[in-house]
Assembly symmetry: C2
Homo-oligomer: 302 residues x 2
């Protein structure tokens, strides 16, 4: 499977620089925005990262046979929502993390009030970008709706809330635990990944059938991504991952390797990636980018 | 001026019950949204309050000769943003308030993580409501853009950030202090008030000239509202206002009465209200509601 790795890095190289330039251009230091607030927003938004969600949006547009550049505002919007959610999740009242991507978290680098406000402003900016840049307005409104639903109380925020106050369930029963775990991550990680693909599809004027195929791909990749992340938490060291390692286990959080074991978790992720790639078949070669990205999810921890 | 009070309460009675019903209907307990999160959102959103911003949106639509009901989704959206901003502003890392509208603040009633997430979810829900309910889509996109700009880093969030970390200025010099104070409140309170009127106008299909007139009204009313609020902070007692009184002064915050004195502050507010009402002249009788509401701003602390 390692043959796909160079292919993915081709895509990544092609897109990442332009994504970062586009993100930076949409969040400049500007008169009217307090300098410290803007600095915190840029610190969070332009942090080293995979830019997975923007790439999914751009590659979804490409899969539909449209220039990926068309989805750049949407790509920036999903990354802004992702960045905001990380800033708020890291807060002392939430996951209380000091490190993120190898650097101090936003509230450590700045202060707690600034971090809360920077998150708020990034979330708001995401909708401003969609509403003012996506054309035609029907598509802008559809993108705002899809992103708001993915980021809202039933999905992204709801998943984090459940993570903070897990619903009562017999967490020692593997079946119940697995269901609860998938429910949290389908929302917490999966929702925004699926939204990235939907927004990319919407920007390309995708058909209902194409949107459904992209959603199936997104569901599978999102869950596989979370499993891979859990595996990384167990396997990596602080230097490589840039965050406290084994923290999930130490906090008694549900994880896939914790519930299923390492190898079954890995196999499950592989099946999900196969499923994801199957969903892409109708798109043909324009979906090669999405296929490579899916396979890369597994490469990360080999 | 007290003659206008019964007139305003007519309007208020007419609209408030329907606003509260509309807010409640858009934030129900729902499968997928954690019960504690939804409860915190509803606690903040349906708290006793004036519903000033929804009323401004509805009355702006009415001023343009359109059924106010047309602006109900926009009215709900601005109140959601207002409620979110209060929840986040009250947090321990921000203004650290225990009481709001006579009740425990959201993080006191629930917990800090839930309050942060409830604020996030209310902000997100505002855009969902606009994007999915406002018609036609051109208007939905325009409303999302206007609300995002008002709520963003250059205005609502920017004002709060400056409030937390005031820009360096000679705060003892009354002229500099007044300018800094107006700059903070033009953004912190004024931006959302102006946006409420713009959204109401947009939902009514207002002309550019009508939107400009509504904006002039909004600028004046927004600032007058803040001056009246500062006066209330000095004059009221905890029972009447439902929050810690004299807190602004105790925290050394800039206020209008602190910089100008009580009577000059009151006169300034009165001039602003006269200005606001003058801006309404071209609308004729359909703008009577907005005129009454403007005058009510001053009645509150007589």
């Amino acid at each position: 499977m390692s043959a796909s790795f160079p292919c993915f890095t081709d895509y990544a190289t092609r897109f990442r620089a332009s994504v970062d330039a586009a993100l930076s251009a949409r969040c400049p230091h500007a008169e009217g925005s307090p300098a410290r607030l803007t600095a915190a927003m840029r610190y969070a938004l332009l942090a080293p990262g995979k830019r997975l969600r923007p790439m999914l949006a751009l590659l979804a547009t490409e899969a539909c046979g449209v220039e990926p550049e068309r989805a750049m505002p949407a790509a920036c919007a999903v990354e802004m929502v992702h960045a905001y959610s990380l800033v708020h999740d890291d807060l002392p009242a939430m996951d209380d993390d000091d490190l993120r991507r190898g650097r101090p978290t936003c509230h450590k680098e700045f202060d707690e009030a600034t971090a809360i406000l920077a998150g708020d402003a990034l979330l708001t900016l995401a909708f401003e970008v969609l509403a003012t840049e996506v054309r035609p307005p029907e598509t802008a409104a559809a993108c705002c709706a899809a992103l708001a639903q993915a980021a809202g109380r039933c999905r992204l925020v709801g998943g984090q809330a459940d993570d903070m106050h897990p619903p009562q369930a017999d967490r020692l029963d593997p079946e119940v635990g697995l269901e609860a775990l998938e429910a949290i991550h389908t929302r917490k990680t999966g929702a925004l990944i699926r939204a990235s693909l939907q927004l990319g599809g919407l920007c390309a004027g995708a058909s209902a059938r194409q949107l459904a195929a992209l959603d199936r791909y997104g569901r599978c990749v999102g869950l596989a991504f979370q499993i891979a992340d859990d595996l990384l938490d167990v396997m990596s060291n602080t230097y490589a991952l840039g965050k406290k390692v084994g923290k999930d286990a130490a906090q008694g959080k549900l994880t896939f390797p914790g519930l299923l074991g390492m190898e079954p978790s890995r196999r499950r992720a592989e099946h999900l990636i196969d499923d994801a790639c199957e969903a892409l078949a109708p798109f043909g070669p324009p979906a090669d980018g999405l296929a490579s990205l899916a396979r890369f999810v597994l490469e990360r921890n080999r």
